[in-house]
Symmetry: C2
Subunit: 318 residues, 2 copies
């Protein structure tokens, strides 16, 4: 069964000081035909263009926290959306102060935004369903950083079961019967016959779950409170274990801790990112993570990963 | 006579919406051994790195006005200066609101700047000397844009005259005599002899003047109020004459008007920039400018121009 796309593309892998051609944090989740942006570091709009994403197709922006490397690209992106004639609504899930900063900046520039731009203030201290529709639930949950910081869970809803055509083609079923079967229930026909769901359908592949954990101090088993067994976990790994003390002081994680987090929560795959400018070569960080959690990969500008199976895929031209 | 460098390097040539690999406005003036930054559009810190400028060597930043394409890179640049351990003072010449915006953003991120960062508020409606030292005067002057906007004049002070060694080598002059000669005055010796300056020195090359005119509506002869005969004029040329109406409505200039401005003020050379995203190919804008003012060139990312003679030079690795 061919599933609609559910991928994440890395736009930036750098921590606060960009170095070695790495850009600050930003990721695009392509969910079916829709685009979500997670974090929006400086130059995110240039990275979006480079990897062929249309900025006008972005439906929602999720900002994890208000350190500059996670949101300094927001203002320019909104400006470009406006100048390119955006009409479509944009929802921004972010700590409350972002709206205030945005308004302060736009007041100074005597500019206005004429498309519907809505800020949803993140402030909950527990897991919270911040968006839901027929196909997805998005949750926020609190991280442990120097300022209020949020992780995000993108949880695809289960797909409908697939009907075995060869079993139903001579039954003259009504549309309602198909709907009932797809939902996994048995059909009771008018003449009393029962069509057992398990006989007439096959299961669809399981839905995907992506979890995004930006800047955070690592606490063993902490994530168990908020999610379980994601298909793909993105977790920051600013430092190597040699800098564990510095990681603790700055409320960041080591590559080893990111891998422990993946193991703790039963993730199937892990991407590590948000690398300190002190590391030119990242292989040691990857090796450190893989020693704890084998299915680890390095984030890299332009890398697109299929969330459901954790394998890299080419970025399509959109 | 070998003069100290006085160059401008273009980091961005785009108007509000970046397109075709062009970046928003930012330019580096290398004045002798010092760096000044004029405007700081998004991703300026990446462009600075690309063209081998050390961000810690930047002494002063001049922000022409508070439209996003001229300052959205400011916050990230300051953040990187801080994280890379800057100790040196930074002076920021900008409209007053920039300081307020900066403080609003830094309050939200619970970050602090530990190097001396001083904002100098630009608000004068006439020409104003905003910085002076032994080697340079910098002036601001008002432009005509939708928000308060400032042009800048970088006026090198005259070099000392050069002493003709062959004329003085047998005279046993004192250091004070050399100073008097270098300043262009005659020397009266103790025995009453007079050393005519014109006989004992040769003139140094004339100092350079660079004028930066960012976003503005064009008014004939307007610049005559503020400067005269700069060696190099940078002037925005957002549109071609075919869009003269749009230029007027948006308080911008056409390439033709930029060239008229250069002619009006007796500039020796002109660089045009700040190109609208509607122009992929810029040659027509250059041709339009050259039809009015022959010594026009196009701004281009990475282009470095010698201010004193207006010729492109390679960017040195610093």
């Amino acid at each position: 069964m061919s599933l609609p796309p559910f991928t994440v593309t890395i736009l930036g892998t750098s921590s606060a000081t960009p170095a070695y051609g790495r850009f600050p944090s930003a990721q695009v989740v392509q969910f079916h035909q829709r685009l979500f942006l997670i974090d929006c570091g400086e130059a995110a709009q240039f990275q979006l263009r480079k990897y062929h994403f249309s900025i006008q197709k972005i439906e929602k922006i999720f900002i994890s926290h208000l350190h500059g490397d996670h949101f300094f690209g927001f203002f320019g992106l909104i400006g470009s959306m406006q100048l390119q004639g955006r009409k479509r609504e944009l929802l921004v899930y972010a700590p409350p102060e972002l709206e205030h900063i945005f308004k302060t900046i736009y007041a100074a520039s005597d500019a206005s935004v004429t498309f519907p731009l809505k800020f949803i203030h993140l402030k909950s201290h527990s897991k919270e369903l911040i968006y839901e529709d027929d196909a997805i639930n998005v949750y926020s949950f609190p991280m442990n950083h120097r300022v209020p910081c949020f992780g995000f869970v993108f949880q695809e809803k289960p797909f409908l079961r697939k009907i075995r055509k060869e079993k139903v083609e001579n039954l003259s079923l009504l549309p309602i019967h198909y709907d009932v079967l797809r939902k996994g229930e048995d059909v009771v026909l008018e003449d009393g016959r029962i069509l057992k769901n398990s006989e007439y359908t096959i299961p669809s592949p399981p839905p995907g779950v992506f979890v995004h954990c930006s800047d955070t101090f690592y606490t063993p088993l902490y994530y168990k409170n908020f999610f379980d067994s994601p298909d793909l976990l993105y977790h920051e790994a600013t430092f190597s274990s040699a800098e564990a003390k510095r990681a603790e002081l700055t409320f960041h994680s080591t590559a080893n801790q990111a891998a422990q987090a993946a193991r703790d929560c039963g993730a199937k795959k892990l991407i590590i990112g948000h690398f300190s400018a002190r590391y030119k070569e990242l292989t040691p960080l990857l090796e450190e993570a893989r020693a704890v959690f084998r299915e680890s990969i390095l984030a890299e500008e332009g890398l697109t990963v299929n969330i459901r199976d954790g394998f890299p895929v080419p970025v399509p031209v959109r």
